[in-house]
Symmetry: C2
C-alpha cells in the first residue's frame, strides 16, 4: 500500500549532502577494522558470483542487445561473457545480472541489495582506469555506506510507498564509489551526489519482471555518469538530499537525518550485509538448512520414510506449493526446498531449474515431506524430523538459518555458492583462479588482471 | 512545500499503460488536424533553436566531456557542434542544451517543457536509423501526448511535492516516441513505457544549477534506452503506470486517470504548447512586450523622460531587482527587461548577457523605469506609459503577452527567435538553410540531410 502520512516540509534539515561528501572524499584508505575489510571482500566476491552466474540469462542477453545498438567502445568487461562495452553500459548490464537470480547480498536493516549498484559501477570504472584493488575496496565500503545510510534515513516509509529501495538509494552509493575512484574533491563529490539524487531508479510494481534487476543496473549507470559529470564541472544543488524539494523529502515521509551521520566513519553499514545461501525466498531457508544438516549426518533419500516439518504458518502461506511444475514454482515450495537440500546438499539456482524440479527422484522425496503449522515456532526457525525406513528418527532444530546475521555463511560456504554459479559459465579452472585471489583483492596493484579472469 | 495529503492506494485504476501503448503503436501517421501538424513543426523548430543556441554553454561542455569518457561511437549529432556521439549520449546532451536557457517550449497546463525529453530522444534515434521526417513528427506528437497526459493525471500534486515534472514525465514521452520510431508492436511499446516508468528524472531543488537542464536530457536518454530494451525483449510490469506500486501512485496523490485517456486520438496535448519570446521568467513578459510595442511605435530611448509601469504585486516580488549586476540577475529585473525591450526590441539570451546588463545606455534607461503595484491588474497583464521629454505620454496596455496561449508567437517571430539563438553558433547562411526547411520537415524522406545542417 502506498503510505502517505501527512508531514510538512522540514526546512531545518542538517547538511547531509555536504557531510557525506566530506566523508567520501576524505576518509582514509582502509579506515576501518579488519572485520569491515573482510566483509567488503565477501560482499564483492558474492556479488561477482551472482553476476557471472546470470551472464547468459535472457535478461542479460536482452540488455546487452540494447546497449550494443550504441556500438559501445570495448572499455569494460561484461562479467562472464566475451563482450566488452563502454563503462556506463557495463555498469548497467553487470548490475542487472548481479540481481537477476535474487541471490545477491542483503542489508537486512533496509532490504537494500547494496553491491548491485555500487560494485557494478565501481568495477567498470576501475577497469577503465586500472585502479588498484585498494581503491576498489575503499570505493565499495564508502559507496555502500552512503546508499545504506540514506536507506536508513527513509526506511520503511520510502519502501512502503512503492520504491524499490535498492535502485532508489543505489544511485547515491554508485556516485559516491565512483567519485572516490576518480579522487574527486569534496565539492565535486557533493555535486556528484547531487546529480545522482535526481535519478532514483525503481518501482516495486516491477517485481517479477526483468525491470526488477534493471533497477540496480540503472542505478549503477546513473551514479557512474553523475561522478563523471561532476568531474567535468557539472553542478547540482549542494543540498540535493536534504532540502525541502530534495530527494529524501520528495521520496519519503520518514526523515531520520541522524541515520545519515551517526557514527560516520566508525560504524560501517557493510558490516550488516548478508549473503543468501539458497536461491529462493528467505522464509524457506531454515527448512533447507535443516535438510542439508540431515544429509551431513548421513541421511540418504532412499532411507527416508518421511520428513516431518513443524513451521510457522507464514512458511506455508508463502511457500506451501506441494506440486511445483517448474523452476519458478519450485522457489515457492518448501517441500521442493527440503528435497533438494537432502539430495544435493544445496539449493542454488541450478536446484531450481525446471529439470531438477521435475526429476523423479526429487519428486519422490518431495512427496515424503509433510509440513505441520506450529506458530509457537518462530518464522525464521524450523523443527525437522527425518523418519527412516528402519524406524530411526533424526531431529534437527534450526533457530538461526545459515545466511542470517547470527549464522553467516562461512568463507568456504561462500566459495561453494560461487562455484555453483560460476563453474557452469567459466569452468572449473577459471573458477579456481578467481577463488584463489578474492581474499587478496585489496592487495592488487591493478584490478584489470583480476577482471580478466571473469571473462571466458 | 512537499505536500502529502493522506490517500489510500487505488487498486481499481484503469489500464492506462496498455491503453497508451495501443494508442502509440497503432495511431495512424499524421492522424490529426493541420493545426496539430503545424504545432508539431513549431515545437520541433523552437526546441532545435534552443538546443543549438546553448551548444557552447559550460553545461554543454561539461556534459559532453563526461560522455566522451565513454569513447562514444559517432552515431548522432550534438546539435550546433562538430562532435558526434552515441545516440543515448546525444539524447542526453541535446536534452540538456535545449533547456539550458530556460527558453524552450511550455505546456502551460502542467508547466512541462515537453520537447526537451521527447525531441532529443527521437531525433538522435531517427538520425541513426535514417527515419523519415513523417516518422519523426509522428513520434514527437505521440510522445508529447503521453508525457503531458501523464502530467495532467498528476499535476499539481506531483509538482508540488518537489518533482521537476519535465523530467519525471519526459522519460515516458521519450520512450513512447522511440517505440514509435522503432515500429514496436503494442506489447513491446507497453514494456518500453513500463521500463521508463522506473526512471523519473528530476527534483525542483536543482533549479538554478546545471542539473535542472540535465533533467530533460536524462529523461530523453532513459526513454530511448527503455525503447531499445523493449525492442530486444526486455520485460516490465504491464501496469507499471497505474498499479498501486506503479509510477503514478508512488509519485503523486492526485490520480486523475481520465486525463490519460479522455479524447485520446482526438485532442492532442501538443496543441497547448507555447513558446517563450523572451529568455526570462514568464512574469516579466507583459512588460517587455509593452516596451517592444513602444519601440515599434517610434519611441527611442533618448526621447524618454521616464517609463511608468502599473503591475500586479507578484511581478515586483519575483522580478523587482532595481540594479542587476550580471546577466542572471537581469532575468529577475523587470526594469532591465523594459530597457532591453525598448532599446533592442527583443529580450533573448543575448540581452541577458553580463555585457548588456552593464551597458551604460541600458543602465541609463533602466533607471528611468518606475514600477507601481496595482493588484487590480492581472498577473499576466501590464499598463505601461512612456513619458517623453517633449511632454508626450504614450500608453500601452498588454493583457495577453506575446507567447501566451491567446497571443502565440507567429511563425515569423519564431524564426526571429531562432535566428537570434542560432546565427551566433552556425552563422547566417546555415540559419537560413534550416529556416527554409523547418515547415516541410514531415516531407523529408530521410531526416539526416536536415540534421546535417545543424552541425557546423
Amino acid at each position: 500500500m502506498a503510505r502517505n502520512t501527512h508531514v510538512a516540509a522540514d526546512t531545518a534539515a542538517p547538511p547531509i549532502t555536504s557531510t557525506l561528501a566530506t566523508f567520501v572524499a576524505g576518509h582514509p584508505a582502509r579506515g576501518w577494522s579488519d572485520a569491515v575489510e573482510r566483509e567488503a571482500h565477501r560482499t564483492f566476491y558474492n556479488w561477482l558470483g551472482c553476476a557471472i552466474g546470470a551472464a547468459h540469462h535472457e535478461a542479460a542477453v536482452a540488455a546487452l542487445g540494447a546497449v550494443q545498438v550504441l556500438e559501445p567502445a570495448a572499455q569494460a568487461t561484461v562479467l562472464g561473457r566475451q563482450e566488452k562495452v563502454d563503462i556506463a553500459s557495463a555498469a548497467l548490464v553487470n548490475g542487472i545480472t548481479s540481481h537477476t537470480f535474487d541471490f545477491d547480498d542483503t542489508h537486512l536493516k533496509t532490504i537494500i541489495h547494496p553491491a548491485g549498484p555500487v560494485a557494478s559501477a565501481a568495477l567498470a570504472l576501475a577497469e577503465l582506469r586500472g585502479s588498484s584493488g585498494r581503491d576498489v575496496i575503499d570505493a565499495l565500503v564508502l559507496g555502500i555506506d552512503v546508499a545504506c545510510r540514506i536507506g536508513n534515513v527513509m526506511y520503511p516509509d520510502h519502501y512502503d510507498r512503492g520504491w524499490h529501495i535498492t535502485g532508489s538509494t543505489g544511485m547515491l552509493g554508485a556516485a559516491a564509489a565512483c567519485a572516490r575512484l576518480l579522487h574527486l574533491d569534496v565539492q565535486q563529490t557533493q555535486m556528484a551526489l547531487g546529480i545522482a539524487a535526481s535519478q532514483p531508479v525503481g518501482l516495486r510494481e516491477q517485481f517479477g519482471t526483468m525491470t526488477k534487476p534493471f533497477h540496480p543496473g540503472g542505478a549503477a549507470r546513473a551514479g557512474l555518469m553523475s561522478a563523471l559529470l561532476a568531474s567535468k564541472g557539472f553542478t547540482s544543488s549542494p543540498r540535493a538530499l536534504e532540502a525541502p524539494r530534495g530527494f529524501v523529502q520528495v521520496a519519503s515521509d520518514k526523515r531520520a537525518w541522524n541515520e545519515a551521520t551517526d557514527e560516520l566513519g566508525q560504524r560501517f553499514e557493510i558490516s550488516f550485509n548478508t549473503y543468501k545461501p539458497f536461491a529462493c525466498g528467505i522464509v524457506i531457508h531454515p527448512s533447507i538448512d535443516a535438510c542439508v544438516q540431515l544429509r551431513e549426518r548421513g541421511v540418504q533419500a532412499d532411507q527416508v520414510e518421511r520428513i516431518e516439518l513443524r513451521v510457522h504458518s507464514l512458511v506455508l502461506e508463502l511457500t506451501g506449493k506441494k506440486e511445483p511444475k517448474d523452476g519458478l514454482q519450485g522457489k515457492f515450495s518448501v517441500y521442493h526446498g527440503c528435497a533438494v537440500g537432502l539430495i544435493y546438499g544445496r539449493a542454488g539456482e541450478e536446484e531450481f531449474s525446471d529439470a531438477v524440479v521435475n526429476d523423479p527422484a526429487v519428486v519422490a522425496l518431495r512427496n515424503k515431506v509433510q509440513a505441520t503449522v506450529d506458530d509457537s515456532i518462530a518464522e525464521e526457525a524450523v523443527q525437522v524430523t527425518a523418519v527412516l525406513k528402519d524406524g530411526r528418527r533424526i531431529d534437527v532444530r534450526v533457530d538461526n538459518a545459515i545466511g542470517s546475521m547470527h549464522n553467516p555463511l562461512s568463507d568456504a560456504q561462500l566459495e561453494a555458492k560461487f562455484a555453483a554459479l560460476v563453474v557452469p559459465v567459466l569452468g572449473e579452472a577459471r573458477c579456481r583462479d578467481i577463488t584463489g585471489q578474492w581474499k587478496n583483492l585489496a592487495a592488487l596493484s591493478d584490478i584489470r588482471s583480476f577482471v580478466a579472469l571473469c571473462r571466458p
